[in-house]
Subunit: 195 residues, 2 copies
């Protein structure tokens, strides 16, 4: 069970490189330019890229096109990933309509809520199995979070993106990433007060 892990810091930088490279017009780019543009260290960028892509050339840098391909497939953006979302309050709505998921080739195939404007939870398992859904997004109130997680696990979901403030209990082979908004903001506040 992954609880808010900082595992593999590199994973969180690759999408940033990808975003930046998409805006870059030249044929080649150096680690130095990427680093300076994104406020990172150039050795770190070079190391990240070396881990994923074939070599850049001294004095020239990396070919942007093939670098983009390599980074994207490393992150799995070349394959469609399917998700479902449970809890269609304001946050659920916002995520459901969020356009940025296209970029990472993620599709939210169904939205569930007790309100009958959305799919009913009775259909949850069958819909997930039919679409072979691997990602579950939880945006329900705290008191229903664990039950939602249990339903997801029993419906074959492998990774949960949890916006509730509950600590979910799930089996060992299920990933949980907690994305509690208040906690996340509080880290920023703490850092700010430190200065």
């Amino acid at each position: 069970m992954l609880q808010n892990g900082n595992y593999e810091a590199i994973f969180s930088r690759i999408p940033i490189y990808i975003e930046y490279l998409k805006t870059y017009e030249e044929e080649y780019i150096s680690a130095t330019i990427i680093a300076n543009s994104l406020g990172l260290g150039e050795v770190q960028v070079r190391k990240d890229l070396a881990k994923i892509s074939f070599g850049g050339k001294p004095k020239i840098g990396y070919e942007v096109k093939s670098l983009l391909d390599d980074l994207s497939s490393y992150m799995g953006f070349d394959k469609l990933t399917k998700a479902v979302i449970v809890g269609m309050g304001r946050l659920g709505e916002a995520l459901f309509h969020y356009l940025g998921f296209d970029r990472i080739n993620l599709k939210i195939v169904a939205a569930f809520d007790v309100c009958d404007k959305y799919n009913s939870l009775d259909e949850f398992k069958s819909i997930c199995e039919k679409h072979n859904v691997k990602i579950g997004i939880i945006t329900v109130p705290e008191e229903s979070a664990q039950a939602t997680a249990d339903l997801m696990v029993s419906s074959g979901i492998k990774a949960i993106w949890n916006f509730s403030s509950s600590s979910l209990k799930v089996p060992n082979n299920i990933l949980v990433k907690n994305e509690n908004m208040a906690n996340s903001l509080s880290v920023l506040i703490r850092l700010m007060n430190n200065l």
Copy 2:
């Protein structure tokens, strides 16, 4: 400039401890119980607590009440922090109405948008200065993100919570925490595909 930093991993665990402790009914609690309940290592919990609070007692543990006080004030939850939000699309709306910010003693004092249902950006600086706002939340489309950040910096804001996918350029003394939803989810997808 903090770009999505994992600085001080401990900062991100404290709010989780706090949440958990609030639900705990006994007078004393041990690091072992906290660790097992949250899926963390007990040495890690003990170390975190030792850094912030006064000693626990062998065989007994820590007094829940004073532990909660110490952790809360360490995170700055004992003081009111004020924020403003710019960009009242679905995500902006969701954050503006999000109830969880009470827990961390954060108040969003104003919401801005080009649409006239909200405060106008013309009033941005004066409102921020009047309320001594230190935190700015950016939920605008990518193309207006940098301009919004510039406005925030020139209005005395010290820390920016950036939901756009742009990499913002800000002065050195300004904190930026990027909270790009797609990037964040893509880390989960990558971890899942690793297994």
